[in-house]
């Protein structure tokens, strides 16, 4: 399962929390920098493996559940860099079994990542690394707007979202807004992945919170800072899990928990509207 493909933005927290509520088990998480979503999924017991470049909490550092799980040997880990993970997904998106890179050479990533192998260029003979393709069973992405058929727009820093979707067998989309197909087809360059490869679309306003969602809300730094405390011990995390996941039954519950004031504080104050373009004929 690939998630957090937008790097810091558009992380599908609502979908992740639903996975935790449903007590899914044995997942392998795939993503470059998951911010705290991966740590939460590990804490909730859903995870048996991680293929990632970085797992933690971007502005506070450690992901405590991740640390504990690795240190106790409970997690199968594949250590990537952002580049090798991006290329592993791009390989699957392109339909090839590997891609060559010039990164990671001389590093110990080779010792803790069996998806990396030394390789010589067939033309120049120079040393390279081969990164094996990663083909996730499913990619879960959060976007700003989608139609009911899975045609979706996303904007902002796109991280590895596009390649991650093309790489995955199935794509699940959560969207801030469900819009008409006409809205999507008014700007086909902004479509994030071909809709015919999308399996499910879920209307999930605030579904990316606390990560930033361009056009909708800013990053909720306090949530990341709070989580750092709330995940330091197993006990504290149990309380967090009860409050923010298990007791949340509907998207409305979540928004009520957040509260109007906090949501207002996160909303955009300075708007910047894209200059339109003409797709006429």
């Amino acid at each position: 399962m690939a998630a957090g493909l937008g790097l810091e933005a558009l992380i599908p927290f609502a979908a992740g929390h639903e996975i935790m509520r449903q007590r899914k088990r044995g997942l392998t998480l795939i993503g470059p920098i998951s911010d705290m979503l991966f740590d939460q999924l590990i804490g909730a017991g859903c995870v048996s493996g991680v293929r990632a470049a970085w797992v933690g909490n971007v502005i506070t550092g450690s992901g405590y559940h991740f640390r504990r799980a690795v240190e106790s040997g409970r997690l199968h880990l594949e250590d990537h860099s952002n580049l090798t993970l991006a290329m592993a997904l791009k390989a699957a998106a392109l339909g090839v079994p590997f891609l060559p890179v010039r990164s990671a050479l001389g590093s110990d990533l080779f010792t803790t990542n069996s998806a990396l192998k030394p390789l010589n260029c067939p033309f120049s003979g120079e040393a390279l690394a081969a990164v094996a393709a990663i083909r996730p069973d499913v990619a879960i992405i959060h976007v700003q707007r989608a139609d009911e058929y899975g045609n979706a727009h996303a904007w902002g820093n796109l991280g590895v979202v596009r390649d991650g979707c093309l790489a995955s067998r199935q794509v699940i989309i959560t969207a801030e807004q469900i819009v008409s197909t006409a809205t999507i087809t008014s700007d086909p360059n902004r479509v994030i992945t071909p809709g015919f490869r999308v399996s499910a679309v879920v209307h999930a306003p605030w579904g990316g919170h606390p990560s930033p969602v361009p056009g909708h809300y800013n990053r909720d730094h306090q949530a990341f800072i709070d989580y750092s405390e709330e995940s330091k011990t197993v006990t504290a995390f149990a309380r967090w899990l009860q409050r923010w996941v298990n007791d949340v039954r509907t998207p409305e519950d979540y928004r009520n928990l957040l509260g109007r004031e906090r949501m207002e504080a996160l909303r955009l104050k300075n708007h910047l509207c894209s200059e339109p373009v003409d797709y006429g004929y």
């Binding site: 640390r67 590093s107 820093n157 590895v160 990053r219």
Partner: protein
């Protein structure tokens, strides 16, 4: 984190940010990392390097300072009126194809050849401590034309040999990078809480080039796990100017990173 003894109107982190900023020349393409490097880039932009271009691993290119203080590169003000919003693969391509002049990375453990560990303390098999991992650091250390390391100076961090190479420096010395196939680059400086190191070309070892105000060479040695090499022309790191401190305060108003 080791504390500055005397002083003053600035914090160690502010001094390090100012030192980081000075590593950026005008017009350079900078792969901007998190935390202090982000502030260093913003400081350089607002001072001596107005034409430097920032590339962020999220897929952002921008050549001006965000309109509002940001805590992390993914904050929406950092996207606002940026010059390019693209894919991570695109900016990693710029890095890999040699378009990036300088990058900054942090580290938990370093050795005298500038190899960095941000993955496993105590080795990967039965780690004592698992750290968050590479992120983009390994890529920046492999592929930028040069990179600058910023980290806290403690004896447990400055070790004879890192437990795991997350981000390659000069490996075990001269010729190593070329031998393993790295196309260019290597660490150019290490900015710590106590001083600044540069790398000697003939040995690829780090040499203490300056000590921060109030810090002695002995103090640096006491916090370094190998016999320190000291530049014959050792200097004192310039304290941040008032103007620099003002700018840093503007970029980090709550002192989240530099308080």
């Amino acid at each position: 984190m080791a504390q500055l003894k005397r002083m003053p109107a600035y914090t160690p982190a502010q001094l390090m940010v100012a030192a980081a900023a000075r590593e950026i020349a005008d017009g350079e393409v900078v792969f901007v990392g998190m935390r202090l490097p982000l502030l260093g880039f913003l400081l350089a932009k607002s001072a001596h390097a107005p034409d430097a271009v920032g590339v962020y691993e999220l897929g952002v290119v921008r050549d001006d300072v965000a309109p509002e203080a940001i805590l992390t590169m993914g904050d929406l003000p950092n996207l606002y009126r940026s010059l390019w919003l693209a894919d991570t693969a695109d900016v990693m391509g710029l890095l890999q194809n040699g378009s990036v002049d300088v990058s900054f990375i942090g580290g938990a453990q370093i050795d005298r050849f500038g190899n960095l560990n941000t993955s496993y303390i105590g080795g990967a098999t039965a780690p004592e401590t698992r750290l968050p991992g590479s992120g983009g650091a390994c890529d920046l250390a492999c592929l930028a034309r040069r990179h600058i390391i910023i980290m806290a100076h403690e004896r447990r961090r400055f070790v004879p040999r890192v437990d795991y190479i997350t981000s390659p420096g000069y490996g075990n010395g001269p010729g190593w990078r070329r031998a393993v196939g790295l196309p260019r680059g290597g660490p150019a400086a290490v900015i710590t809480t106590l001083g600044i190191f540069r790398f000697e070309q003939s040995t690829c070892e780090m040499v203490l080039a300056s000590v921060h105000p109030g810090v002695t060479v002995d103090e640096v040695q006491a916090n370094t796990g190998w016999p320190l090499r000291v530049s014959s022309g050792i200097e004192q790191t310039p304290a941040p100017a008032l103007q620099e401190l003002d700018a840093i305060t503007r970029f980090d108003p709550q002192g989240y990173w530099t308080g």
